[in-house]
Amino acid sequence: MEEFLKQFFDVGFMVDHFDEVLDGFWVTIQLSVISGILSLVWGLVLATLRQLPGKGFLPVRFVTITYIDVFRGVPLLLLILLIYGGIPSLDFLPESLRHPEFFGKKDNFWFGVLAITITYGAYMAEVYRAGIESVPGGQMEAARSLGMNHGQAMRNVILPQAVRKVIAPLLNDFIALTKDTTLVSVIALNEVVLVGNDIQSETFNSSALTLGALMFLALTLPLARLVDKLIAREQGRFTRGAPRVEAL
């Protein structure tokens, strides 16, 4: 038992390596927040393109649906390796895109952001779609009958209601995204898992990785509770017999 605790929960060891692991976790947080925001925006763009009406937009809808299907089906790890290994070799791209370095972050960080956004944008587009489709058809009709065009109706009437309904599932996706940022360690980004693993390799002690896990829990557990609360509030509306969006 003592050996087990020393291997995984060596407090003194954790204290010694705390700053290193925290630096790694700070990279994880930066990666999560930037990719998370971009995925939220990109997903909304995709969901909106997918809802464009009429025959004229059929190609746009087709391309959007294909994109969503493909990138929900391709492993994120594979995509990270593909981008990291492939893009620098594309000579027609400008140097700044082949080896992007912005705000003091190197190319592996930005390639990670790109891969995560491509994948999670597709996931979140589906969440937004569920929200859009849950808004009763009469809302679009009412907006159109008042003279709004499709874009105005989406922006002012449909999306505000749809987004409010899917905040909880979007947050769930964000939690999953946060954990998936660890995959970017495969292209040598010094985030929390790579840092912990390096320490483990050097010292044969796993406590730094355990410490990383604890840091993750400190972030994800409150988020999970928040999701539960949001879901409960959403369901409360229905049990009161008013399946409508309450004013926030």
Partner: protein, 260 residues
Amino acid sequence: MEGQGNSGGSMLSLRGVCKRFGELEVLRGVDLEVKKGEVVCVLGPSGSGKSTLLRCLNLLEPPEEGDIHLEERSICKGPGSGTGEQSWELDFVRQRVGIVFQQFNLFPHRTALQNVTMAQEKVLGRSSVEARKKGTELLERVGLADKLGEYPERLSGGQQQRVAIARALAMDPHVMLFDEVTSALDPELVKEVLDVMRELAEEGMTMIVVTHEIGFAKEVADRVIFMDDGLIVEEGPPSQLLDDPREERTKQFLGLVLGH
């Protein structure tokens, strides 16, 4: 068909309007004239095409065949034109035709006043001050001066429907369409909505009212239309059509509606 005349020229004119949903023929060649200032009530059993007729008139369901003239201008691209999307007729129609729905369809994330101001600002480009002034006036007119800041969820059905009427009126429509606007209301709330509609009729608004309220039709309508199976079976002044219908189907329907 009656001659052109009394209060004004033609507001709406329908010729052979047809609408199909797949195999189902909902409208099978409807001809109808509505003059400016006229109040027309449309009666008929469910599935007779009444609501579809209204939805054709503002191109929510563009007709497949036939022609509709609004203020003597064709709003259809002719037979087989199919969709009204992205055509100039759509803007022309939506700026002139207001509609109120059975299910209110208020925007739940906006207050009563915001429901009435949103399209004024986004579509007509009115300033928010202007839109609020107009919105406040209209909500006062429908008796909701004290509910400006309430969200639809906190309003009764009758109040919601009056907000919906104010919302449509805010766009300065030339014609108002009412699609069974009291059918989803509790009986004690019907009157407050009908009162608003009655006032509107007295002020000279051109109205087409799909309704089951025979009493309202009798009192307010200039003309009553009876529809069945996608066709206009009979039309005439309320006194004649309601009290002394010529057609057998009209008699049957009125017998069932008034019978109990």
